[in-house]
Symmetry: C2
Subunit: 248 residues, 2 copies
C-alpha cells in the first residue's frame, strides 16, 4: 500500500534526458545438501573491478541478440554442470547509483540487473572452476559481504524460495526420486527453519493433497520403525495445479 | 522445469558485444467497477511511432537519475488522479526484437520493459486527458489489439491479479470500506469468473480466516433478507500475514 503520488517529482524528472543502460542478469542459485541439511547458495569471487576480490552472485551482461533468459542460462552453464534445473525470473533491480561504474555526477551508463532464481539438485551439480575466479557453495548462514546490492538480491531470492515451498512442488526438484516423508520434512526444516509446522500436521496435510505416491517399499534407516518410501506423482499434481493450495 | 543447458549457444554469444538498452516501464493498471461488475484495464492511445494510433499500456522510458519505481509512479500520476493505490513490479520483458525501433540487422539500442502491476479503486480514480492521447478503462474482455508485446504483458498482469486474490487482501483495496460478503464474492466472480468456488464455501472459508470484522450493521439492498456489513480488519490480518493461506 502506498501513499499519495509524488506528482511534483514526477514532472520535474520529465525534463531529464533518457538514461542509457547496460543490462545484467544475476542468478540466485540455491541447492540443498540433503545429507548435511544445509541450504546453499552459489557464489563466485570477482576478479575485475569494481569489487575485485569480493564474492558475488554469478552474473553477466546481456549481449547483442541475446534474451534475458538466454543470458541467465549462459552464466549458469559457465559455472555449473547440471542436467535439470528450475530457473525463473526473480526481480529487476535498476535504481540509480547501484553500480559504482555509474558516476554520481555524470549520470553515465546505468547498470540494471534482472535477477533470476534457480534451484539445482546438489548431488548432480558439478561446479566449473575456470582457473581464474573462485566459486563455492556457501551455506546461507555463512554468506560473506557481497558485491553491489547482491545481499538484497539474495534476500529477495531466499524469500521467493520460502514462498515457493509453500505452494509449489519445488522440493521434488531437490529430493532424490524416492524419499521418506521424514526426508521431505527435513528439507522444509532446512529451508524454513525449525517450527514452521510440526511433523504430524505436515505429514497429514501433504498426504491429503494426493500427489505423493506410496511406492510400497520401506526403508530401515535409523533407529525407528521402517519408513514408507514415496515418489512425487507429477500427473496427479498436474490435475491440481490450478487449484489454490498451501502445503504447510 | 527445463532441459539440458544449451552450452554451445551460450559460448557463441560470449563473443558478441554487449547490448545497449533504453529501459521502459509499462503499467498494467486494473480496476473493478463494482456497480457493473466489470474488470477494467487502463489503456492509452499512442500518438507517436511506432504503433501510432494503437492502444497500449501506459508507459514511459526511464530518465537519468530516476528509479524504476519512480518511473512507474510518474506515468501513473500523468494518467490518473488517485489517493491510494497498490503498485508492484510484475515482470521484465527484454528479448531482442520486441520493439521495432531496434532494427533486426543493426542490433541497435534495445528496449527493455520492466512491467508494473497496479490496482486502483474505480470510484476514486480520475482519468487525466492530456489533450493529445486517448485514454480509457477497457473491460478486459473487450481489449483491442495492443502495441508491442503488451498483450503478453497484460496476460501476465491478469494472472498476477488472479493469484493475488487467492492469498492476499488485495480485494479490500478495491471494495468500499464497508461491504457485504455478497459484495466480496461478486468481486471474486468478476475477476476469476463463475465457478471458482460456491458462495457458501467461500463465505465459510473467509470468515474462518478471522480478518473480516462484522460491523453489527446490516444492509437491506435487494429482495433477500438483510445482509451483515463487514470491514477488513488490517490489524488482524497483520498477525496472520506470514502464515501460508488461501482465501478460496
Amino acid at each position: 500500500m502506498h501513499g499519495k503520488l509524488q506528482r511534483k517529482t514526477g514532472h520535474l524528472l520529465n525534463a531529464e534526458p533518457l538514461a542509457d543502460f547496460k543490462v545484467g542478469v544475476d542468478n540466485v542459485i540455491f541447492s540443498v545438501d540433503t545429507d548435511q541439511n544445509r541450504l546453499l547458495v552459489l557464489l563466485v569471487m570477482r576478479h575485475d573491478a569494481p569489487y575485485c576480490g569480493c564474492w558475488s552472485l554469478p552474473g553477466t551482461l546481456v549481449r547483442q541478440g541475446e534474451s534475458l533468459e538466454d543470458a541467465a542460462y549462459r552464466v549458469l552453464s559457465e559455472k555449473i554442470r547440471v542436467n535439470n534445473l528450475y530457473l525463473e525470473q526473480l526481480y529487476t533491480f535498476g535504481g540509480p547509483d547501484r553500480d559504482p561504474r555509474e558516476e554520481e555526477d555524470s549520470y553515465g551508463v546505468r547498470y540494471l540487473s534482472v535477477s533470476h532464481f534457480a534451484l539445482v539438485r546438489f548431488a548432480e551439480a558439478e561446479l566449473i572452476a575456470d582457473g581464474v575466479s573462485g566459486i563455492a557453495w556457501y551455506p546461507l548462514a555463512q554468506v560473506p559481504t557481497l558485491a553491489f546490492d547482491h545481499a538484497e538480491v539474495l534476500a529477495y531470492g531466499y524469500q521467493r524460495l520460502k514462498n515457493k515451498l509453500e505452494y509449489s512442488p519445488i522440493a521434488f526438484d531437490v529430493l532424490p526420486d524416492i524419499f521418506t516423508l521424514g526426508d521431505l520434512y527435513q528439507l522444509y526444516v532446512t529451508v524454513l527453519g525449525e517450527g514452521f509446522s510440526d511433523y504430524s500436521n505436515f505429514r497429514a496435510r501433504l498426504l491429503k493433497l494426493g500427489f505423493l505416491e506410496d511406492t510400497g517399499n520401506k526403508t530401515s534407516r535409523g533407529a525407528g520403525r521402517p519408513a514408507s518410501l514415496y515418489r512425487f506423482d507429477a500427473d496427479a499434481f498436474e490435475l491440481l495445479k490450478d487449484k489454490p493450495m498451501v502445503f504447510i
